[in-house]
């Protein structure tokens, strides 16, 4: 193909700022889900975790706004003025907004508590699930296959639990290892779920990072003090890698 004729718009459309959102939304969704569960158990840590979740959601929403080329056009209001349930991003917008609202009211001890706890739980589940769905719906991009539907929510839970360990919550250790183990198992299976062409592309573009991230994740099962850090880096890195390398269109054109 010669450049004289102009090249298709085949470049990367989601950059590192979008990747940061994919990590932050996992962290925010994971922590919000834990906070909602703690609220349902009337645990004393619930308020603190809600505050952390609110901070992470606010940070994620800020990153989304700041990286958006439409940030000064204020078109984002249409996310909440229109009804598009076929769009995963529409669900994500509502999930994050309702998690922030219900979490905020719970933290401030305002409103119907029991109903708010349930709204918080459902909204946080939507927030941690929608990124995988937003990728998996693109049937034209062979690296974003159905495994994204599991990998993204599970890495989000691992991120949330890893942060909980760093916040001195001993109860988070076992579930953290379980979800991180499951995420690493699925990530190890991932190349085998791809076509030969897609696998070759994935390993060529991201093979070294993929191997390092799996090794770091495994390290979380052996290192003690560093374990949550290794797990966080591994889970966040896997999400970033899949978003960046997965933008490949395949060889169909």
């Amino acid at each position: 193909m010669t450049e004289f004729y102009g090249l298709p718009n085949a470049g990367e459309f989601w950059h590192w700022t979008n990747t940061l959102h994919f990590i932050l939304v996992g962290l925010a969704g994971g922590v919000a889900f834990l906070a909602a569960l703690l609220h349902l158990q009337n645990a004393k840590e619930a308020r603190f975790f809600t505050l952390v979740a609110l901070g992470l959601i606010a940070l994620d929403l800020f990153v989304l706004w700041a990286e958006s080329p439409a940030r000064f056009r204020f078109t984002h209001v249409w996310l909440f003025l229109t009804f598009h349930p076929q769009s995963p991003i529409w669900w994500g917008a509502w999930g994050l907004a309702l998690a922030f609202l219900s979490g905020g009211l719970l933290h401030l001890n305002r409103g119907p508590k029991e109903a708010l706890k349930r709204v918080f739980l459902v909204a946080s589940l939507v927030a941690l699930a929608y990124p995988g769905l937003a990728l998996a719906v693109n049937l034209n991009r062979p690296l974003w296959n159905a495994l994204m539907l599991a990998l993204f929510p599970i890495t989000a839970l691992a991120l949330g639990l890893g942060l909980a360990i760093l916040l001195k919550q001993a109860w988070a250790r076992l579930p953290f290892q379980s979800f991180l183990g499951l995420a690493l198992f699925l990530a190890a299976l991932y190349p085998f779920s791809l076509s030969a062409e897609a696998r070759a592309h994935f390993l060529e573009e991201g093979g070294i990072a993929y191997g390092l991230l799996l090794a770091l994740g495994l390290g979380a099962f052996f290192g003690k003090g560093l374990a949550p850090w290794l797990g966080l880096v591994s889970a966040a890195g896997l999400r970033a890698l899949l978003v960046l390398v997965g933008q490949w269109q395949g060889l169909g054109l």
Partner: protein, 195 residues
């Protein structure tokens, strides 16, 4: 209501890029991005050689994957089958760019997603899209698929071979390629990689 479609006869296309230039001028497409481009491929070795000049743009699919993923309704389909973007509703999230199997969409520097509109502003005035009007070999035809007297319906009826890009995805494109130079149909990137 018409059902707009376009055909490109690849046996007539010489890859002069006049359509790409006309599109840039007509729609004021910024530098570095494009609504229309030409994919040029040489495959094989003489005498088993295929040279293909393939103009590409939005295919205005009947089943467009870019429309349902849009969270604000900025990407929409008109009754006459055009797939358009309303810049006033677009949040530039990139969901439609990701969903398009043809790399037809790009992010406009003004902060919204843009693409070929089949020159809707010209259609409203009864004119042809700029690329069709400017083509020096007449390889492009445009019109109503449901009108047997329209240029597009006529050339589709007379064509020896009709192909669409990535038919396996079920998007039902309304940009048809006629008389591809290879007997196997349109070339694919996978052939380049294995050539």
């Amino acid at each position: 209501m018409p059902r707009y479609a376009m055909t490109i006869d690849l046996s007539l296309c010489v890859g002069c890029a006049a359509c790409a230039v006309a599109c840039k001028m007509e729609n004021e497409v910024p530098p570095g991005v494009r609504r229309l481009w030409i994919r040029e491929r040489e495959l094989g070795i003489f005498p088993d050689l295929t040279v293909e000049f393939r103009p590409e743009q939005c295919l205005h699919c009947a089943n467009p994957p870019c429309v349902p993923v849009c969270p604000t309704g900025a990407s929409y389909q008109t009754k006459d089958g055009l797939v358009l973007v309303d810049p006033k509703k677009c949040i530039a999230c990139g969901a439609c760019v990701a969903a398009c199997p043809y790399d037809a969409r790009y992010l406009h520097p003004a902060g919204y997603v843009d693409k070929c509109t089949f020159c809707q502003h010209r259609l409203e005035k009864g004119r042809l899209p700029a690329c069709v009007e400017t083509c020096p070999t007449g390889c492009r035809a445009f019109g109503d698929l449901d009108d047997p007297e329209s240029p597009v319906a006529k050339v589709l009826k007379e064509a020896g071979r009709v192909d669409v890009l990535r038919p396996e995805l079920g998007t039902k494109p309304k940009l048809f390629y006629l008389n591809a130079p290879s007997k196997k149909g349109l070339t694919r990137e996978s052939e380049v990689h294995h050539d």
